[in-house]
């Protein structure tokens, strides 16, 4: 298993952001759905080794991230796109991606090819030499995705990756996700249920820090039959599952 989480709890002061979540995940694309404040970002940051759990155990890529050596090994194989992407405005797209390739310890000889490949995969090849400050929000998001995948991660964590992308790019991005999911574990936190339906093999739904649903998109859709609100079947399944959890 690439991800093995057991009874994970994370508190910030008195607030409990994640409460007793357990999950296991191998290769595939996992959609993480939930309303604002459900704990999705906290769960993702914990999996990304940004923060440590208050209690519970986490094993990533068969290693314990609590120890420095294994954590470093995990980080070599980890890709992460945070919700708010920070960037150095004077770096070009290629420099930004190269910077992270070097920090992720991609073998030096492979860096130029890895950088070019990552930039091509997010369709920014023609803007590789543009400074980040000159890019639109959607292009910046793609540059962020490029840095996340430059090391060909075995665990890819994406927080709102399609925010700011136009429909054409989103379609292309879903294709990329499916491609990546064949060999790696990809966890996508999103508000856009259509992304989940189109690209994810599994769906997890969080509410109030807890995992309230886990299954395939088809199973979530089935929950919405005759229940829930929404325009699309998956949206109805989402609202029905949430209502069930809250009741």
């Amino acid at each position: 298993m690439n991800v093995e989480i057991t009874d994970l709890t994370r508190r910030f002061g008195r607030a409990v952001a994640v409460a007793g979540v357990s999950l296991q995940a191998g290769p595939g694309v996992f959609g993480l759905l939930g309303p604002n404040g459900a704990g999705k970002t906290t769960l993702l940051r914990t999996m990304a080794t940004v923060i440590t759990p208050t209690s519970g155990t986490v094993r990533l890529l068969d290693r314990d991230p609590a120890q420095y050596g294994p954590r470093r090994e995990i980080r070599r194989r980890l890709g992460y796109l945070p919700q708010n992407l920070g960037y150095y405005p004077n770096f070009t797209v290629a420099e930004f991606v190269e910077y992270f390739a070097l920090l992720k310890e991609v073998p030096s000889a492979r860096v130029p090819r890895a950088v070019a490949a990552a930039i091509e995969r997010v369709e920014l090849g023609d803007r590789a030499r543009s400074k980040l400050k000159s890019l639109s929000g959607g292009m910046l998001r793609r540059a962020g995705i490029a840095q996340a995948i430059v090391n060909e991660p075995q665990l890819l964590l994406l927080d709102e990756p399609t925010a700011g992308l136009d429909p054409e790019q989103r379609v292309s991005f879903r294709s990329l996700l499916r491609d990546l999911g064949t060999s790696a574990t990809v966890v996508v936190s999103t508000h856009l249920v259509e992304d989940v339906g189109a690209a994810c093999t599994e769906v997890m739904l969080m509410a109030d820090g807890k995992l309230v649903f886990a299954g395939t998109p088809a199973e979530l859709t089935a929950k919405g039959t005759d229940h829930g609100v929404g325009d699309a079947p998956l949206e109805r399944g989402y609202s029905a599952a949430l209502a069930e959890a809250r009741s």
Binding site: R72, R76, L85, E95, E98, E105, V111, L211, A214
Partner: protein, 543 residues
């Protein structure tokens, strides 16, 4: 709740070891390319030109004056850009919201922080090297003799990484857009004031890189001209700066998250080593003393070989009694000749007249607190080769062109040298055996006094008279220079010059003697000097 998945074959973990050196090179290239210091180089160069360069080239074209003046000035001029850029770069990750993203990369945080610091320092050193090349090139073009003093330039060069380290650490610890300007202000005043706290030659504050020598002496033309520049203080300063740099940079690697346990332990050990080196340097400067040649000697770092005088071929004026100067002072040989040649023409060949006059080094002596006694602007007797009497000329410790208020001109310099003529004439005519001139008295017989005053008057050529009038030389009586007045009355307390009233007979005889043709005067002196000294000649017998 548990999410189950289809059984997945455990993905093989590919070996991800990269060659750290190559990666570091690539990272450095990126940091060099996108470093804030690049934008601040014009600021650094502009400040250097406005402050340090203009002041240094305004100094006389002597390597020691210019390079010693440069050390502290250059560092202060580079503070705003180096500390500002380093603090800005240190706070970059937090300001740009990249801490999450960079914090989860495999390379230790320390690694990328050192890369940022190294790039900032690299640009600063490149700018500094360019500035030094211009200043040293200009000095090499203008200076008559000698070569660059490398230690002041080295101390300033080692100071830049230390400044960058301090700025970077401040930026890392308090990341904010206001950190950089605040860090600049703090470091600027800390560096500027650190040298002001130095009291005496054993002050711990001498470790400040703002000082290139004894605080109470500063750059002096005599220092490192006759004797080698003592590297004692610069060594201590370099030790302090390297220690500070290592300690500050290593301390950044201690907090959790900087790297693994091994790395953090290494950082802690390095911090301790850096602090120990800096502390040792501070302690050593506390044991320093001012040596007689105006430089700071630290016993534990002192190499006796440094005490040997520098060999040089003097430049000499073709005067009746040859006057030779250190070649570094070649530009002042004409002024010295103007001031002394007339008196030397009168005295050449007389019993007791020196065979030659050679320049000697200024003697420095540390007094209480910040006071230093500088023995400059005098003549003294030394024994030359074969027992022949020679004289040592110590030029004033200030040279024309050195910044001062009021401005010290070449005429002022000539007048100051000319003031050595009366004591010299007094010594030769009266035949006193005092080694140091300037304290003899016009206490001999009237005829002797008249001859001395007559010679002093005769030694004042039309050129000298013009210069003396222009320079407003203090005179206590017509045609009696102040040095002669001091001779006659002794140096009074409070520095007030006494009024000298010469007897009418003496003054008249002196005027008559001065009016004689030089050859007649000289021939008479050769024949009658012994009798004059013995008091067997009266005023009436003077020609």
């Amino acid at each position: 709740m548990t999410v189950g998945t289809a059984p997945i074959a455990s993905a093989p973990i590919r070996p991800a070891r990269s060659r750290t050196g190559l990666a570091a090179g690539r990272l450095l290239r990126l940091e060099f390319k996108r470093n804030a210091m690049i934008w601040l180089i014009p600021v650094a160069v502009g400040l250097f030109w406005f402050d340090c360069y203009r002041q240094s080239v305004a100094e006389p074209a002597m390597w020691n004056l210019r390079t010693m003046n440069m050390q502290g000035q250059a560092l202060l001029d580079f503070v705003p850009s180096v500390v500002g850029a380093a603090a800005w770069m240190g706070s970059r990750e937090a300001r740009r919201g990249l801490t999450d993203l960079t914090g989860i990369t495999a390379r230790p945080r320390w690694f990328r922080q050192l890369a940022v610091w190294a790039a900032t320092t690299g640009w600063a050193l490149a700018a500094y090297a360019g500035c030094m090349a211009v200043l040293y090139g200009m000095t090499a073009h203008q200076a008559h003799w000698g070569g660059p003093l490398l230690w002041p330039a080295t101390v300033a060069a080692v100071g830049l990484p230390a400044l960058a380290a301090v700025g970077f650490a401040i930026g890392t610890a308090w990341p904010s857009r206001f950190t950089a300007p605040l860090a600049v202000v703090v470091v600027f005043f800390a560096l500027g004031l650190s040298s002001q706290f130095a009291r005496g030659s054993s002050s711990y504050f001498q470790v400040s890189p703002g000082l290139s020598g004894a605080n109470d002496v500063g750059p002096d033309p005599s220092i490192a001209t006759f004797y080698h520049y003592l590297p004692d203080l610069p060594i201590a300063q370099v030790m302090f700066l390297v220690g500070l740099t290592v300690a500050v940079l290593a301390a950044i690697g201690i907090p959790a998250g900087s790297g693994g346990q091994w790395l953090r332990r290494s950082a802690a050990i390095l911090t301790a080593c850096g602090l120990a080196a800096a502390g040792t340097a501070v302690y050593l400067t506390g044991t320093a003393r001012l040596d007689v040649h105006g430089m700071i000697a630290i016993p534990a770092l002192h190499d006796a070989a440094s005490n040997r005088p520098i060999r040089y071929t003097p430049v000499c004026a073709r005067t009746a009694i040859p006057v030779c100067l250190n070649p570094a002072y070649a530009a002042y040989l004409a002024d010295v000749r103007t001031a002394l040649a007339p008196a030397l023409s009168e005295l050449a060949g007389l019993p007791g007249a020196p065979a030659s006059i050679s320049q000697a080094a200024t003697i420095f002596h540390q007094e209480q607190a910040n006071q230093v006694l500088i023995n400059g602007g005098n003549l003294r007797i030394v024994k030359g080769r074969g027992g022949r009497q020679s004289m040592a000329l110590v030029l004033p410790d200030q040279l024309p062109g050195e910044p001062s208020s009021p401005v010290y001109t070449n005429d002022d310099f000539i007048v100051q040298i000319y003031e050595l003529s009366p004591p010299l004439i007094d010594r030769v005519i009266s035949g006193t055996r005092r080694r140091r001139l300037g304290v003899a008295a016009l206490t001999g017989p009237d005829a002797e006094q008249a001859v001395i005053i007559g010679l002093v008057t005769a030694a004042r050529t039309a050129t000298l008279t013009r210069i003396i009038r222009q320079a407003n030389m203090i005179q206590v009586a017509p045609d009696v220079p102040s040095s002669l007045a001091i001779i006659s009355a002794g140096r009074p307390p409070g520095g007030q010059l006494p009024q000298v009233r010469l007897p009418a007979g003496v003054q008249a005889a002196a005027g008559r003697f001065a009016a004689l043709p030089a050859a007649t005067r000289h021939a008479w002196l050769v024949g009658h000097l012994s009798a004059l000294r013995a008091g067997r000649i009266t005023l009436a017998q003077l020609p």
